[in-house]
Symmetry: D2
Subunit: 342 residues, 4 copies
């Protein structure tokens, strides 16, 4: 979230001991010093609105003055290690750069969708976030704007062509539509006999049809610009029809095929279509609750570092895909935590 | 089956002209001669015990004396080419054995669906054939009945739960529902921008939702009997989202996942769920026309023997799957002609 | 094993109660009666060598006189249900038919390999069984011969070109080589750090290179006859590199690609190449020991019906593939017990 | 990276003629003008702090003043086209930052291997490049050193354990071994009958066994450091046994399984194992020659922009994978040019 932060001094609130938790990337790029005037200088900026709390939970509090090694100044990655929570503050404060391009996110949920929105906003894209309940988008909008970004929050039922088309046209009207993220939800568990016709249809409508409509309309607009990226969020169920997942896997596998066909048709026209298989649980309160319910409080507590995926890390991979040059595009990749059994 | 027919002479009643219908397989193994003493030698066979008849339909009548070439004596396959009707040395022809079991075929089209119906009818199953236009089922019904089988033809829109349920219940009421073949059509080609919401929905409804409804209702009934087979007809598109096939591959891949989830849930309850990937063109007038249109008259004529799949051959594999014992069931297999490039 | 048995009376040693265990196939085709003179008539044939004990363990003993319903006489499948152990005896005794064709089995182990040998022998093929320790082939050879079949047992190290070529040439010299079964073993578990160069090489040599050599030499011979079947035995590891299976899955996946390339090259030349993915444990004393060791005596005893695959059932699928006509060949299929979790 | 370079004017040192080398991507975003006041305005930039240089090698020298079109200001990619060397506003060029870590590249060929070496060198890694003919590594070594990096060139036959182990130990002795790239070659075409035992073995040794040995030894060392990345270069043949590719695809599929097994075993121990499927031709003189030979001079000339993959683009994806945090690692992804048919 501070990718355009140009100063060489930032404040972190770090978990102790730093050396134990900082990633290799981080340690090689940051020098951590407890400066004499840390508190004083920090206080000057306490008032300013915090930037980009990625929904990670605060841990032990210890204020450090961190010097970014010259060779790594103004680098994005080491400044957002998934290992600790950043309140990036600076003398002048970070400001986002902006560019004349829009990134539309369909299904901007609280986790993956929001993290992608934050990431692309931090890279200067105007965000068009669509979600059925527009109210739920308020925190995301406020956060991005607080960080100096632009975010349009719109109520959107992506299953309805008459809503999808104007949504994307509005996005394109604001600034050329360059990125569309299709991030449908609808993960449900139903044994086959309990899967009603209604459930089967609803899940398909949300997880497959909405993606088809959005992808097609996005392509229509991007073909005019002769470029763009359309990324689909997939899941384990996109590749596997597990017991109890007839409806969900049917819809997700259907969405994957839409993405494949689009990639083959649109690639030669300079539109990058990709499908990301999220093959594990994302670190959300919902998932943590489920784990607690299933395996108990202790199991949850005992859960190893990074056993769940940080939405911000997933967003980084969406960004990396968008950075690929068209002579070497990825259509599909998987994402799972290092400790995941698969 | 006449697998144990050990003589080197058999009588066939062949469709004229033989050369046009017999496959190379057959021709390479049989010598067809209109012998002077055909009738006389035929009479000698009359007394011998009849050998089971396959219920393939009588066509134009012409008695041939056929000599099985030595190297192929007592081989099953060349003696039962699906191209013509065999009366293995019996005057009035063998009669079909019957059993107290029903095989329901949803989407009993003129080709694969009908061939499966003929095959299971010949094995003694009562056939319940469902198809949107019941009139189109008449030839199949007559043919099966002419061969001594039982076939109920029903108008059926498999996309409608209120039609699927009674259809299968009626089948089960007639005799225990033991086999359900889900053979949806709907192969369409549409570039992504030309794929209307209506097309995407219709294709899914026919190729995916109908299969889900039928599979679920079949399972409901079979679980009472604690056994049964539910087989889904898949296609190349079940595994690959080709250019121009967003709608079709999305629906077929969705159907495949329904099959996978059902296989995992129902296998332990003694219901065999399988998915057959038909990875090439079936030998139909439609396909031949398309080839002619695409590559010209000559290309069609020059097309090698067995370049297209004979529906009867596909039906034999459905039957073989149904013959598997539950300690070694197949969930998925592919089918393509020997000369197909893949 | 009694596919050519032409009589209408056989004796079965059945598990009680028959009705509970007989498969649908069986019940629909056999009439089970306790004949007055069962014992007497049975005694007459006790002396004769039993045919085809498929390595299934004897269960409760109850002699039944079973009448094969006329419509199903001389049918293979219902007479070899995997549910009970058959001592097929008859007034004249079963006799195998023979044909002028050879089936070579490379890696004719005690289970799958032997079961395939028995099956193809019962269909009249001369068997050429190759295995490193020729002595171990003796029981198989005796059994097939006792049943009236022909079996050549040869010591064979399939990793050696200079042994594979003459082995297959000898088979072809005996009668045209029509079927070659490549059934390599070498399933080993080694964490990556414990996988020595020697282990990695040995496993590859046995599970992959031997298959390549045999497949290539088989093709060379079959191309002369312009027909034949080459079937490879695969495993879960052919598709998945599980933890601890770097060496084994590497070799099996390598073998699968050899099969795929061969199928694409040889199909158009009328040679059927297939790859069967055996995705579960086969019912062998070895596997049962492992289960006992891992989960205890009771777990083994409590194991549901048909939780493990009967080699004879697997062999039936090899046979079914060989029966396919070339207009609709299967390249790959999976096999697992109905209760298996996958 | 100059992702935060916010000016709208940059200086490039471009290969002549620009139009020939700049990609369409680039041309659509940059306006290249030889401005009258180039030198003067260039001088103004001299004072500003240098921004990290990518270690791409200097080519013909010609200073251009390039104006970034407004809509693309502050975008990373167009400012670092892999087609030319960038001196972002610095006279003698920025110097590479260095870090205390080694990246070993096994099979450091002229294209992918070298591009990866350049990329990781530019990110501050010491490069240990291994290749059978050490002389061939000289240009790479010189180039990296010219750009201020460190590169050790070693003659290495990765098929030999006694060479692999010391090679990696030496790399680790120089600085902690953090990245190992396994980039085996050996793509050969042989119809099955022409595939000698020797060819089959050699291809496996180079494309599979060498990768296993290197991966295992890399893991042994990295486990001590409790971190590291091991990336394998795959190909279309890793997933498909094409006609004429029995040997190559067998080896590549085998290597893929080694990678899969390692990923499952080592991920939980904080070692990132990934497999990249390069699904198209890389832009090399060799490939261009083949295209010319196959389709003629004109076809080659008419070949669309970016029809072949630029090794530097592939290298960027290797780098992006290495940047992933362990809570969201990718095991597998594909890479192909936008216009590729697949």
């Amino acid at each position: 979230m501070i990718s355009h932060f140009r100063e060489d001094i930032v404040f972190y609130q770090v978990r102790e001991p730093f050396s134990q938790y900082a990633s290799r990337n981080t340690k090689s790029r940051l020098k951590v010093v407890k400066a004499a005037d840390t508190q004083k200088r920090f206080t000057q900026y306490k008032q300013r609105p915090p930037i980009a709390d990625h929904g990670e939970r605060p841990r032990q509090r210890a204020i450090f003055l961190i010097e970014v090694l010259p060779s790594h100044r103004s680098r994005t990655l080491p400044l957002t290690p998934s290992y600790f929570k950043t309140y990036c503050c600076s003398v002048k404060g970070a400001r986002m750069s902006s560019r004349n391009a829009t990134c539309a996110i369909i299904g901007a949920g609280d986790f993956i969708g929001s993290a992608i929105a934050r990431k692309f906003a931090s890279e200067g894209y105007t965000i068009f976030a669509g979600r059925r309940t527009v109210e739920k988008l308020e925190p995301l909008k406020r956060e991005i704007e607080a960080a100096g970004g632009v975010c349009e929050a719109r109520g959107l039922d992506a299953r309805k062509e008459e809503e999808v088309t104007p949504f994307l046209q509005a996005a394109d009207a604001h600034a050329p539509l360059e990125v569309v993220i299709i991030n449908p939800g609808a993960n449900v568990y139903f044994p086959i006999l309990e899967t009603t016709e209604r459930v089967f249809f609803k899940v398909w409508e949300m997880a497959c049809k909405a993606g088809f409509l959005t992808g097609r309309e996005a392509a229509r607009i991007m073909l005019k610009h002769r470029r763009g990226s359309i990324f689909f969020t997939g899941a384990t169920a996109s590749l596997r029809g597990g017991s109890g997942y007839a409806a969900f896997s049917s819809a997700k596998a259907g969405l994957r095929m839409v993405a494949q066909a689009m990639a083959r048709e649109l690639g030669p026209q300079n539109i990058h279509v990709a499908h990301l298989v999220i093959d594990a649980g994302v670190d959300t309160s919902f998932v943590r609750e489920r784990i607690k319910a299933a395996r108990g409080e202790q199991a949850l507590a005992a859960m190893p570092e990074d056993a769940l995926m940080n939405p911000a890390s997933i967003a980084n991979t969406y960004w990396a895909l968008h950075q690929q040059t068209r002579d070497a595009w990825t259509f599909e990749l998987d994402l799972r935590p290092h400790g995941e059994a698969w």
